[in-house]
Each structure stands twice: as C-alpha cells, then as structure tokens.
C-alpha cells in the first residue's frame, strides 16, 4: 500500500490536525480501535495479536529457552528478553524483498533499549534467573502482518499482551556434582495412582503491569499526534519514540519513568516541543495502561487448536 | 557586518538580513537570517545581471578556484564525457520518431577541465541539444555522436530532468574530440562533419569539436585516455 497525497490534501490534513480534528474524526490524542487477543499461536509459550484500527496487524510470539551463561564474565544481571521484529512482505509493498529488514532492526533495537532496565522495573522478572549461570531466555518474535501506521505502538501492546500470556514453568534447582546444578521441572504432588509425568507442571506468569510502553508522538504542523494513520504519516515533520514505564512501588500513587526516547526519521525539533511531546506521551500512557489492564483481565482465553485468523 | 575573507563554519550567521545583496552559493536563509551552509570564506563581488544592473553577490566559497568550489558538475561547466549508449528512452519521454527512435544519448562525465572525478556521473545528451538553433532535428543520432566517442560538452539546465546532468554540444567548440572505428583504430578528422578510419579508409559522419588552441587538444586527451 503506497500512499500518495497531493499538496492540497496534505494542507487540508495539516490544517485539520492543528484544529484538533483528524480525517477519521479522532482528536489528536485518540487511538484507533485496538483489538487484542491472546493465546493465538499454539507453538509458542505465549502469544498475542494486536489490531489497530482494523488495518495494522501485529502477531507476537514468545519462546522460552533455558540458557547457560558464563557468570564470571557477566558481572551485572542482563535482562532476559531478546526482541526480533520481522516485516512481512505482505504488510506493505515497501517491505518487499529486503525492504523491511533495516526498519525491523531499528525497531527491535529500540525495544531492546526500552526494556534494558526491565529487571529493575518489572517486579518478578528477576525470577527468570534460576541459578548461578542459568536463566530463562525470553525470545520475543514480532511479525508485522499488515502495515497502516503506528507500528511501534502496536508492537509494544502486542509484546505486553504476549508477556502476560507467557507461562514459565516452575523449576527446582538442586546442587549437583562438580559445583553444577540440576534443574528439574516442578510438579505438585498429588499422590494416589497418578504417575509423576501426567501431572501438569506448575507455571507462573510475569507481572506486566509496569511493562514499558513505546509510543510514537508525531509532529504535524504545530500539533502533536498519537497513533498516526498512513495518510498522516506522509505529513510528519518529526517524530519521537517515547518509552514509558509505570512503576507501582507505592499502590495508588503511580510514578512514571522514561525508558527510551528516540528522535526518528529526520526532521528538527525545538526543545519546547520535545517537552510537550513527552508530556503527551505520559498522559496517553495513563489511559493506555488502564485500558490494557482492563482488557487483560476481561479477555477470555481462546480455544486451543484454532487459527487466529478465524 | 561581516567582511570579505572571514572564515566561517557551516551554521555561522553571515548577515542579519539579506538587504541589498544577492544570495550566492554556500548560504541559506532561516528565520530571515543568512547562515553559511559550507565551511569556507565569505566573498562579496559585483555581478551584472540580465538587465545590466550591477548587484553585489555574497557567497561562501571553499576555495578561490571554482572547480575546487563545486562538488558536482555545475551549470555551464565544460566537461569531458564518454558516450555510453545512444537511443535509450528516458523515463516518461515517449518515442516520437518512427525512423530513428533515439532521443537521448547516455553519457558518463569523466572530468571537468583537468579535474578527474573518482566516480563517473551519468548524464544525458538530448537530441535537441546536438546542433545550435535546430531543436527539431530529423537527422539520426549517429550523424553526430556514436557510442564510445569522447566528447566535449557543456552542462546545462533542463527543467524536465532533475536527477541527471543534461549535456549540450550545440556550439561549434563542442562535440567529438576522439573517436575510434570498428576495429579500435583511430579515426582522423577530415572536416568538421566527417571522420575517416586510418585502417579501412571508410568515412563516417561526426560532429567534431573546434577546440580552441588554449584549451586541451584532442591529441592531449588521447594520451590521457588511451
């Protein structure tokens, strides 16, 4: 899908945005309809699909991997998440061939930055560290199935959805010969006539309520916008990618932290605009966190074995 | 007021407003102020415009020599180019002639004067720029230049073509300076419109350049390119 706008169409759009009326009737700080489904891929440990305005479509799958690392060389605990963003050639003609590779790398690098301190932010993420030299590695693979603007925003929602869907097995760590450890899956004891292998493994989930959100705030004319449509993306002067994490150390009194800011796509910005854009990102994130928490609580699980396309 | 010869870095303010000056190269305007866009020194010089008024032009130059000053072949520069192919259609220009389809010759610019570029710039020689005062030419392209000829040409401005340089040989001093025959042998000039092969004696039409004596001679060029 290639968008070609004439100069007059652009002027109309810009003038509208400056008056806080967008072409589809939203105001500047409104998101399009968000559809979030979890448990859509059976081959993953956690998955989520996010649709933004019926057109942007993101599929995220998480795979767990038991990783051994050299504890002598790694002094500081590394956060266990690895991101990989892949643009499907079906998403848009601009991603055909190798077109999307560079953009995908840039976005996954931005997520890596935004989640770089997540060990300090997310309350129970440190549980993935099992023993000296062993940890769970969380591979987050994102496929962009359809492109219609605001890819980073949609991806960040899909990542949080998938992380909340992720089930991590409980393990027992026991010391073994030669200073090593043995890691065994933990199964509850039921007793009776049931064999150990038939008892399901105990699972635990990540606490995602303070997962960083990544928002793109775009400057069109003099206005700041969230969640741009493809037409609006043609008129963008400059763009900030802002990562915001909610910390819930004190209940009822949330504080927010910026985990990432990136100026993308060329274009110049005034200091003052940057401040306004950060402010806007914070305001938006409050609403988005609320909506997300509500959805994650209310969402019903899909029946396993059905394709997400149905 | 900044004086001629002041060294400036990109982004330095040169003037508070353009005033009576005319803006030359190496400058740009932002918020009504005039800033330098390249590193160099400020130069103010008088220039007579088309209606013969004397205007003061202000510009930032990287060096005194204009060849050093320009990164790319500039409008009006005399360049040496090699004809790569004749007859290519250029993007949205359509075939108009049935007898000879060629509308453009594709050329590579090798050097400006004696400054040789590291990479060749591709350029176009349109048919209407082959002979002076004859924009609608019906003669085929091969009467003027053929592939692998070396030509002297002038860079000129064309509103329709922005991404390539447009060349012109529509002057007596411009045209073919070196060409070879079928077997790679040198072709000798017979008159300004004909060359003859030194091996087969066959004559071919060409538009030869009447190179002024103070410029580089065709024989000099031959040494440097062969």
């Amino acid at each position: 899908m290639e968008i070609n706008l004439s100069d007059d169409e652009k002027l109309f759009l810009i003038a509208g945005v400056e008056a806080d009326i967008r072409n589809d009737g939203r105001s500047c700080q409104d998101f399009r309809t968000i559809v979030l489904e979890r448990g859509v891929l059976s081959g993953t440990n956690g998955s989520c699909r996010v649709q933004l305005g019926q057109t942007t479509d993101i599929l995220t799958g998480i795979k767990l991997e038991l990783e051994s690392y050299d504890s002598a060389t790694e002094k500081e605990a590394k956060q266990p998440m690895q991101f990989h963003v892949d643009f499907s050639a079906n998403a848009s003609s601009q991603f055909a061939g190798k077109g999307g590779d560079q953009y995908g790398e840039e976005i996954s690098a931005a997520f890596q930055v935004a989640y770089s301190r997540s060990l300090d932010i997310m309350s129970n993420l440190s549980k993935t560290h099992l023993a000296e030299g062993y940890r769970w590695k969380i591979n987050v693979d994102v496929s962009v199935l359809q492109w219609a603007g605001s890819i980073p925003d949609a991806i960040s929602l899909a990542v949080i959805g998938a992380l909340s869907d992720l089930e991590i097995p409980e393990v027992e760590v026991a010391p073994d010969d030669g200073g090593k450890v043995s890691i065994v899956l933990k199964r509850p004891r039921i007793g009776g006539n049931v064999r150990d292998e038939e008892v399901p493994v105990q699972m635990w989930r990540l606490d995602v309520q303070s997962c960083p959100l990544l928002l793109t705030i775009s400057k069109i004319g003099t206005a700041n916008l969230v969640d741009c449509s493809p037409e609006e993306e043609c008129c963008i002067r400059s763009q900030l990618l802002i990562g915001i994490a909610k910390s819930v150390s004190t209940p009822g009194n949330d504080t927010y932290q910026t985990t990432c800011i990136k100026q993308l796509g060329g274009g110049l910005l005034e200091m003052e605009s940057i401040e306004n854009m950060i402010e806007m990102a914070q305001k938006t994130s409050i609403g988005l966190y609320e909506a997300l928490a509500k959805r994650l609580k209310a969402e019903e699980k899909r029946k396993p074995g059905h394709s997400f396309l149905l | 007021m900044i004086i001629t010869g002041t060294l400036v870095a990109p982004g330095d303010k040169v003037l508070d407003s353009i005033g009576n000056y005319r803006m030359g190269n190496g400058l740009y305007e932002a918020n009504r102020r005039i800033f330098a866009s390249v590193a160099g020194y400020v130069k103010v010089y008088g220039h007579k415009d088309k209606s013969d008024n004397l205007v003061q032009v202000i510009e930032v130059r990287r060096s005194e020599d204009q060849l050093e000053n320009e990164l790319l072949p500039y409008d009006g520069a005399v360049v040496t180019a090699k004809v790569m192919a004749v007859g290519l259609r250029y993007r949205h220009f359509f075939i108009l002639y049935l007898r000879d389809h060629s509308r453009f010759a594709k050329c590579d610019i090798i050097s400006i004067g004696d400054r040789v570029y590291k990479k060749r710039f591709s350029a176009l020689l349109p048919k209407k720029k082959l002979r002076p005062l004859e924009p609608e030419l019906s003669e085929p392209f091969k009467n003027f230049v053929r592939p692998n000829d070396y030509i002297l040409a002038k860079v000129c401005d064309d509103a329709g073509i922005k991404d390539k340089f447009v060349l012109s040989i529509a002057e007596d001093e411009l045209g073919v300076v070196l060409c070879r025959g079928k077997f790679g042998e040198t072709m000798k000039k017979v008159d300004w419109n004909t060359v003859v092969s030194t091996r087969t004696g066959k004559t071919e039409p060409r538009k030869m350049a009447r190179v002024p004596q103070k410029c580089m001679l065709p024989s000099d060029l031959k040494d440097s390119t062969s």
Partner: protein
C-alpha cells in the same frame, strides 16, 4: 569549557602513545560533573580526500568519512539518498540503533533537495569504544560534513550525559563511570537554529527529571560548540 588535549595534529599517530589505564586514573579524580573527558576533534583527517572527520572523547575514538555526492545509476528521486554504514562495533542491535540515529540526524541537516539523484555515503568507523560512541560519532560526522563541502544547515553539537540515582549528572561518562547511572541521554542540536537533531535516551529516568536532564545536556552541548567551530575553521586555514 572542555579541555583540549592535542593541538590538532593527526591523531591516528598518537593512538599508540596513550596509556589507556593511566589516562583513566588521571581523569577519574579530576573531573567534575560538567567537565568533559579530554577531547580531540579534527576536521579533515586524510589530507588529499574531502570529507573526513575524527572525534575522540577520552578513550572513545570515532572516524567518519563521507563519500559523495555521487550518482549510483539507480537512485532517481529528486533528492539525495543518504546511507550510513557503521563499523567497529560488535553488537548488531547497537549498530542498528546507532545507524538509525546517525541517519536521522544527518538527513535532517543536509539540504537533500540540492543533490537530486545523488547518493551520499557516510561511513563511520568506531576505533575504540569507551562510552558515548553515539555522541562521538555524531561529532565526527558533523566535522566530516563540514570538510566535504556538502551544503547543510550547520554543525551539530552532541553530548552524552548520564544521570545517577541521586539526580546528579555526569557529562560524557566512560563505560566504567556509567555503570552506576540510572540512565542517560545522547543529545545533539544545531546551535544556530536551536533545533535538536537527535535525542536518544535510555535507562529509567523518572519522568519529572527528564526535562531537566535534557536541559543540562543542551547546556553541555553548547559548551562543545567552540571546539568544533575552531577545528573547522582551522581546516580551512590549512587548506589555504
């Protein structure tokens, strides 16, 4: 005002002479929150070739080379295409991140409409990495741009600033110095237009502190402008 170590001789030759450990020891006890590591910038490293720049912040050394504008035979748009290649870093994610930032910053200052159908290649080589690679690379690129003669809006001054947990700032931290920081920001802006070209914040900064961190970074970036300016003017003098 940042300290200037060398009087702008070709820095590549004295790379071997600096004892890295020794320098670390000296700088550690002398620096305050607002001073830079010893820095060295040079506009035009390879005498014969246009478009090179070098920046050294402490033990971080970055070389930038600009090739072009050239035609590549394929690009036919009415503006220039800018490509950035980054060498010398091992982490691929980091390369992708920095490349995006460098590209965004360079394309916002270069007048791309003046070079239709041309390609401008920017090659950045990280010779050694001791923190603040991005800001050193941005400085090297702006010097290379000034040396290349490509028209652009002005030099970009860039700086890397870290923030500690007690909201203390530290300018241009080395890798060991940034170990105990909450996060930091690489900030670049064009001083004559007072517009930013690059903001790259990482870590976890309380949102209330973000504004003052950016303001501090801007002040530090202003301090580095005279050094870059002098290097550029010196390179023109040398040419003549």
């Amino acid at each position: 005002m940042p300290t200037i170590r060398s009087n702008l001789n070709i820095p590549l030759t004295h790379l071997s002479r600096i004892e890295d450990d020794q320098m670390e020891a000296i700088e550690m006890d002398k620096r305050s929150a607002t001073t830079f590591r010893p820095l060295c910038v040079k506009c035009g490293v390879f005498g014969a070739q246009d478009g090179s720049g070098y920046a050294e912040f402490g033990n971080t050394r970055v070389l930038a080379q600009i090739i072009g504008p050239d035609g590549d035979g394929k690009w036919e748009e009415d503006h220039a295409k800018i490509t950035v290649t980054l060498k010398g870093l091992e982490n691929e994610k980091q390369i992708a991140e920095y490349r995006a930032e460098l590209m965004s910053s360079a394309s916002s200052v270069i007048f791309i409409n003046k070079y239709p159908g041309k390609v401008i290649e920017i090659e950045v080589t990280v010779l050694s990495d001791d923190g603040g690679v991005l800001s050193a690379a941005l400085s090297a690129v702006t010097l290379a741009l000034a040396h290349s003669g490509i028209e652009h809006m002005g030099l970009t001054a860039s700086v890397h600033v870290g923030m500690r947990a007690n909201e203390d700032y530290i300018t241009d931290p080395s890798t060991s110095e940034s170990a105990d920081t909450l996060g930091g920001v690489t900030f670049a802006f064009v001083p004559n237009l007072s517009q930013t070209t690059c903001v790259s914040l990482y870590g976890r900064i309380p949102i209330e502190a973000t504004k003052s961190l950016l303001e501090f970074a801007k002040q530090r970036a202003i301090a580095i402008v005279p050094v870059l300016h002098k290097a550029i003017v010196n390179s023109i003098k040398e040419k003549q």
